[in-house]
Symmetry: C2
């Protein structure tokens, strides 16, 4: 049995074919009929034509949209369009009927409606494209790193680390909620819980990845992370996938080289391997999408310090809602101004230490850290990374400054005691990348079964 | 800057090199010294030789095992072994010192000890091999499926599905455990929880994968799953990775073709891409490992029904602890007998329905289901799969027989109403595969940071 993809990519013209798949559309005439036939292996459907010489012609005409069928026939050049072909059917067999109440009819559905039908929506053009691009992008990421000798590390999702300020965590437990035991001080006694302590779902795999970078030089994670934040925006989900590369003997400048190289590689890979999907998305979702991506591939990313950025913003002839200030964070409007000003992706480095995480390398000025955010035109922040503090004493001091418990992260700190070295890493939200690549602007539409506050269906 | 891997795979003989990495071993003589130098990019270390003509010779001699260093020198053919080479150092710089209490000294450590040092153990030969093989195996799996048009689906980990009997689940919550609210019937009121209902960590992505197979024909998952079972065995972990392919228009026989083809592909890929690691594991962990794997590649997998297997076991001239019975499950000793009898992997099909899951296709005999387990010599069950029940009424009847709530899985059942088709899938535990591939017999030693009852460190 062959795939629809074979019809489009191999030469089957004038050959007999036998193929199974689903009816996307069915237009009936008195003496013949047309079926848009798709088996999911290729973005495009193939047209099946049948005529009233088929013995069960009347039965065939009753076949409903959504049904699964088997088609026998000959692949012939389409009489109308030179470059096209269709299947001239000699036999059509109904395999699985489709109920009248099938929600996915050949008409325009809103994305909100389709979100409620998340288990059926990959059968529509939009979501079929979105989730094949997701799959191809994942492969681009694995290929990029594996070809360059990075070791893929599966960092744990269940963790007793408390998130280091990266976000609110979900608690995981097997205790009986109806009968929670407390210790003599009135605190919840996690000794009875599955792991004998308080455990939740991780917000990052970075710390564990650092340990592995100290063994393999180059590693990456690619797995789920969680945030229990009650935010209902287009870019937030409670469960999403992250890519976190970590590289030993790599400083901030080299890290930016890697980020730029990786992003260009992924974009190129997707444009080459998801041609039909990207053309569809360019046409129906974000006009100019392909041009935007090709431009990125050919651009040289700008590198500025946070201080340079603030100076630039202050000198800008623009009324910002939030006034840019040295030592302060940068708002979305500033990011936008910046990437439009340069008409290219911009790395912003050397951020004020007070608005960044404890593990980032303190610069000699004692005020900034060797952090870097990548701002991309129309996408905003796509990656965030830093050189890590490799100095044992500086790391401990910084943690104490922030009133962090050092004993919980003793193993992490110890990495600075046992052959420490300059090392750097970054994190990239997989779905944020997909929003950029597909032009689909809501994170709920690039995750197969999205989880957000009060939403956990399927 | 180059990698140690470059030294072994490109031609650097007689060239000047500059390289950063760690000291694995350091042997000192009066007038010279040898450093086993490794940067993690290659399994093997390269030897660095230095002599007392270096100005800081005495300082260099103090460099401790575990330290990170930078070496400048010339790569020369080793005077002793024709096929080998070493770096004749002109300069050695200490980058990161290593404390005296460094646990990974160049001597034999027990695996139990190293498990407690999980963040350092990838620096040892055994675990360096194990986790690089893990990474390479992951890539083998992605490559196999992507090359064959499978779409990679990230099924959700947070789920309100209750596990369908596959195992105990972890509960995830953001409620205040010290102040759990109950409804008027005295039940815990999950309306106040993050998702507005009871949500836990998934035990399988199969059901969601089925929905996607109905859109793409061929899909696979590859992600974490969880079991909150209080079992402390060598093969159980609370968090592990699973691969779950699902294929539309595919019956049980075709499914077995795919399983056999995939396994052989993965084994071949790993033998080719992790040569040094596999040779090490063959030598020090499981003698004959490579031969075992090569044999698998060249074997033809046997296919037997459960009934045939029971007959064979009953006729066997062996005293089993558990007596084999028609209609009953098969014990580990039976699996072992079977694979040794055939000296090849064995597919066991058509299992008694009462010991298998609700979604498996009921055979015409009304007693067995179209399930298949793959038993592999020395590894036991490596994959479990089935043709899925594609008939709407039969599926509902089976769920009712098992007292399952159909309303929670309405979407899943609906797949049988909207263009249902014959489809099949299987699940493979990633770590169980790794145990087979590496010869390492404890699941805790093939997961970077393993989670088991009362163990959630790092």
């Amino acid at each position: 049995m062959i795939d629809v993809k074979d019809l489009f990519t191999k030469n089957y013209i004038d050959k007999e074919v036998e193929i199974e798949g689903w009816v996307r559309n069915h237009r009936k005439q008195k003496e013949f009929g047309f079926i848009d036939f798709n088996d999911g292996t290729y973005f495009k459907s193939v047209q099946v034509v049948y005529e009233d010489n088929l013995e069960d012609f009347l039965e065939i005409q009753k076949i409903k949209v959504g049904s699964s069928i088997k088609v026998k026939g000959k692949l012939i050049k389409s009489p109308k369009e030179e470059q096209n072909f269709e299947i001239s059917a000699t036999k059509i067999t109904l395999l699985g009927d489709c109920d009248e109440d099938y929600p996915i009819q050949p008409k325009r559905h809103t994305r909100e409606f389709l979100r409620e039908q998340a288990y059926l929506r990959p059968r529509t053009n939009l979501f079929n494209a979105a989730f094949r691009v997701r799959s191809i992008t994942a492969m681009a990421i694995h290929t990029y790193f594996q070809d360059r000798g990075y070791v893929y590390v599966n960092t744990p999702l269940l963790t007793a680390n408390d998130g280091e300020g990266a976000g609110e965590m979900f608690l995981t437990t097997t205790m009986d909620l109806a009968n929670i035991k407390k210790d003599k001080d009135g605190n919840i006694d996690f000794k009875n819980d599955f792991f004998g302590k308080k455990v939740g779902l991780t917000v990052t795999g970075q710390l564990e990845a650092e340990a592995y970078a100290m063994a393999y030089k180059r590693v990456y994670t690619f797995g789920p992370t969680f945030r229990a934040e009650n935010s209902n925006t287009k870019t937030h989900a409670s469960e999403f996938w992250m890519i976190e590369p970590e590289i030993a003997f790599c400083d901030l400048e080299q890290l930016m080289d890697i980020e730029e190289d990786m992003l260009k590689y992924i974009v190129k890979y997707v444009l080459e391997n998801a041609k039909e999907e990207m053309e569809f998305l360019d046409k129906f979702v974000e006009k100019g999408l392909i041009k935007k991506l090709e431009k990125l591939i050919n651009s040289k990313f700008i590198r500025l310090t946070h201080e340079q950025v603030i100076t630039l913003l202050k000198e800008a002839n623009t009324e910002f809602e939030f006034k840019p200030e040295y030592g302060q964070d940068i708002a979305k409007e500033h990011e936008k101004y910046l990437t439009e000003y340069y008409d290219a992706p911009v790395f912003i480095t050397n951020w004020p230490k007070d608005i960044k995480a404890f593990y980032m390398k303190l610069n000699d000025d004692n005020k900034t850290v060797a952090a870097v955010d990548l701002e991309v035109p129309s996408a905003g922040e796509l990656m965030g990374g830093s050189q890590r503090e490799e100095d044992y004493n500086k790391l401990i001091n910084r943690m104490k400054e922030l009133n962090m418990q050092t004993q919980d992260l003793e193993w992490y700190i110890n990495l600075r005691k046992y052959g420490t070295c300059i090392h750097s890493g970054f994190g990239m939200g997989f779905e944020r990348l997909l929003i950029y690549l597909t032009g689909i602007d809501n994170i709920r539409d690039v995750i197969p079964f999205p989880r957000t506050p009060n939403n956990c269906d399927f």
